[in-house]
């Protein structure tokens, strides 16, 4: 008994010591943090510095944005920006609670579609209409941030959600970008016969949501078809979606997607393309820079599958404007927050952001320096459609649609898959 007590006492003692030490340690560390912050503030004029919080989901942009924030703080003494990122899934859960009571996110970002709608309804956006920095943007590209005539948020990034292809591989096998569905199938067949995976498809996560856009763009009878589906005026069992699903199935059944595509995640599909085992990556321009970083020899272009005959093709590709900058309506420092957005909207800063992160931006007249960004710029003159997936405003419906693609890839008939998805959409109609 004595021994136990002794051991227990020893244990508790050691635990206490460690926790006390750690508490000291962290308070020291905090001190050194504030000390460095203090020295930054040393060359600033008097007056309490204001700290604004900036939250977003682009972890990969942190480095580039840190540099920009430093410049902003130097140009605006008295304003500190604290940036915090969360992965996009978490961004939709905890961030919304924190935004709603303004504990973070004086400046924050929003996705277009469902999240924008919900946050707008909750009154989280401060109205930015009439701000002078809006004139820096291409007006057509910031439409997604408007509601009832008010500019509630400013889309910052411009993305082309079209498959990427490996230019050198195409040249090696004498392939050109196809103008119709038969041509696309022939291209895939040729690649397959050469032992190359025609399309790397991240079926487990982003794949269906990305590729569905270019697959459906020429099949759909009108651009508001998904709005009609959600209103009950059209159905997923209509020819446009069944046809799209059967074309997905065709790609899979003929072996044009890599084996086990549904178990492949974003990073692994990207890896197949980066290692040049696959000729096409079914994602979007947002991955161009990442790919290049991992394999500097890559030469990349965009290519959207045309699912109809050449003369029936209405669109050449897809675009999306996202990463919508906004000011929290409950922010205690709205002026400083707007100042920060205005700073980001500057042509030079937007250019710095774009070139450092490899993302195209919606700001006008930006000079892109990398070939990857110029790839996307070339698409500015093409006829592109705003991402159809984002015209589905209910997240359940959106998921039903992308899941029907997974269903056909796992062996369901396009008719059954469409029927199942429509049944879920129907349940939301009655509400």
């Amino acid at each position: 008994m004595k021994q136990i007590k002794f051991r227990a006492a020893l244990l508790i003692l050691s635990v206490l010591i460690v926790s006390v030490l750690s508490a000291c340690g962290s308070s020291n560390a905090n001190k050194s943090n504030t000390a460095s912050a203090g020295s930054d503030a040393g060359n600033k004029p008097s007056g309490d510095p204001v700290t604004i919080s900036f939250i977003h989901w682009r972890g990969e942009d942190v480095e580039a944005l840190n540099g920009i924030i430093q410049k902003f703080e130097a140009a605006n003494p008295g304003i500190n920006v604290e940036m915090q990122t969360m992965p996009s899934e978490q961004y939709q859960s905890t961030a919304q609670a924190k935004l709603a009571d303004a504990s973070v996110g004086d400046v924050f970002t929003s996705f277009p579609g469902a999240q924008f709608g919900a946050l707008a309804k909750a009154g989280v956006f401060a109205d930015l209409s009439g701000e002078s920095f809006l004139s820096n943007y291409n007006p057509a590209l910031i439409e997604a941030g408007k509601q009832d005539g008010k500019q509630l948020a400013v889309p910052y990034q411009l993305v082309y959600n079209d498959p990427i292809y490996n230019v050198k591989l195409f040249e090696k096998y004498g392939l050109t970008t196809p103008k119709d569905w038969d041509g696309f199938l022939a291209l895939c067949e040729k690649l397959k016969s050469e032992g190359i995976i025609p399309i790397a498809f991240a079926g487990a996560d982003i794949g269906p949501g990305q590729l569905m856009n270019s697959m459906v763009m020429n099949n759909e009878p009108s651009t508001d078809i998904f709005t009609k589906v959600e209103a009950g005026e059209a159905k997923l069992t209509d020819p446009f979606w069944v046809k799209t699903l059967s074309q997905f199935k065709e790609l899979n059944d003929k072996g044009y997607l890599q084996k086990d595509a549904l178990g492949t995640k974003d990073a692994a599909a990207g890896a197949l393309f980066i290692q040049e085992k696959a000729a096409i990556l079914a994602s979007g321009s947002f991955q161009l820079a990442q790919n290049k970083k991992q394999n500097p020899n890559l030469e990349q272009q965009l290519l959207a599958p045309i699912t109809v005959a050449a003369d029936q093709a209405k669109y050449e590709g897809i675009h999306t404007t996202t990463f919508m900058l906004a000011v929290n309506s409950k922010s205690k420092h709205p002026k400083e927050a707007k100042k920060f957005i205005a700073f980001l909207s500057g042509k030079d800063i937007a250019g710095e952001y774009a070139n450092a992160t490899g993302q195209n931006v919606t700001v006008k007249d930006v000079q892109y320096t990398t070939p990857e960004l110029q790839v996307a710029t070339a698409w500015a003159s093409k006829k592109t459609l705003f991402q159809p997936r984002f015209t589905i405003t209910n997240a359940d419906n959106q998921k039903a649609v992308t899941n029907s693609i997974q269903a056909v890839l796992s062996g369901k008939s396009p008719e059954d898959a469409a029927k199942e998805a429509q049944a879920i959409v129907d349940q939301h109609l009655t509400k």
Binding site: A114, A204, K259, K265, N394, N403, Q406, E420, I424
Partner: protein, 291 residues
């Protein structure tokens, strides 16, 4: 034990904290199941039982419930069997046993996000460990699209759940086994009882408290499994791994329907209470030392 007032003092600090920070918010949360709150807006109004009606008829909710039951059965059976087996093998405090216990327990110290990341990588059809190993062993017929097949994805994740937590449950069993006096086994052996008889008549009944903990905890764990599925498949492909917690999460935070999500939670609570009550009743049957 006459001083009951003092005992209330023992109880009070924990009880107050628990009621204020756990129970009160939970009840508030459940209240939202009768409203149309979206989780963000400052205003909402009462909608009666609409959320319950919608949830119970929802195709996705039914799939999630069904998946969850399958997931639970797989995890509870496998995890109890594996952890009990390991505990029986490792119950004596040999040096090597202590090392093995540490190794088997180890996955439990990893966060579920880490485990999810590790296994997404292990299961990956092109980069992954399993398919590569099967291929090299000449067993390529066994290669599977582990998390990408609508038929096996749920079980592939159940396997990971067991991989991560069986060692932890093993410790609970070992703790229980070591409370059984060695003399009891010795006596039985002298009386001519075989291994199986000893297990059935002595070990298992005396292990009932540990078994109750393991089974109940594993059941709850398998119902509340969220991080793992969230990191590995997020409910896909085609709802094949959607379980109740991912359903509730998606409804509340992707579809901004906090009211219906809360209704889902209430149903979740009812199902889980019934299940745990049943288990306690079943396991109480062979308990000696628990009265």
């Amino acid at each position: 034990m006459r001083n009951r007032k003092l005992l209330w003092l023992f109880l009070l600090p924990g009880l107050l904290l628990y009621l204020a920070i756990f129970m009160y918010p939970t009840v508030t949360g459940l209240f939202y199941s009768f409203t149309n709150w979206d989780g963000v807006s400052p205003s909402y109004h009462l909608v009666g039982l609409d959320n319950y009606k919608d949830t119970l008829t929802s195709i996705v909710f039914r799939k999630a419930l069904f998946n969850n039951v399958k997931f639970m059965i797989a995890v509870v059976l496998a995890q109890t069997a594996v952890s009990l087996g390991l505990a029986l093998l490792l119950v004596k405090n040999h040096r090597i046993h202590v090392v093995l216990r540490a190794l088997f327990f180890f996955p439990a110290v990893l966060s579920s996000v880490s485990v999810g990341l590790i296994w997404s990588f292990v299961y990956d059809p092109s980069l992954g460990l399993i398919n590569a190993a099967l291929d090299r062993l000449g067993a390529d017929a066994w290669m599977q699209n582990w998390t990408g097949s609508t038929h096996i994805a749920l079980y592939a994740i159940a396997f990971v759940q067991v991989w991560a937590h069986a060692g932890q449950m093993m410790i609970v069993f070992i703790a229980g086994l070591q409370t059984i006096p060695e003399e009891l086994n010795e006596a039985a052996r002298i009386d001519g009882a075989g291994r199986w008889q000893i297990f059935r008549r002595i070990t298992w009944p005396l292990l009932a408290p540990s078994a109750t903990i393991v089974v109940a905890y594993t059941t709850i764990q398998s119902f509340k499994a969220f991080d793992l599925i969230f990191t590995m498949t997020d409910g896909g492909p085609n709802y094949a791994t959607e379980i109740l917690t991912t359903y509730i999460y998606h409804t509340a935070f992707a579809s901004y329907a906090f009211g219906p999500a809360s209704a889902g939670s209430v149903i979740f609570l009812i199902v889980l209470s019934v299940l745990t009550a049943l288990q306690f009743r079943l396991l109480r049957g062979n308990r000696i030392a628990y009265s």
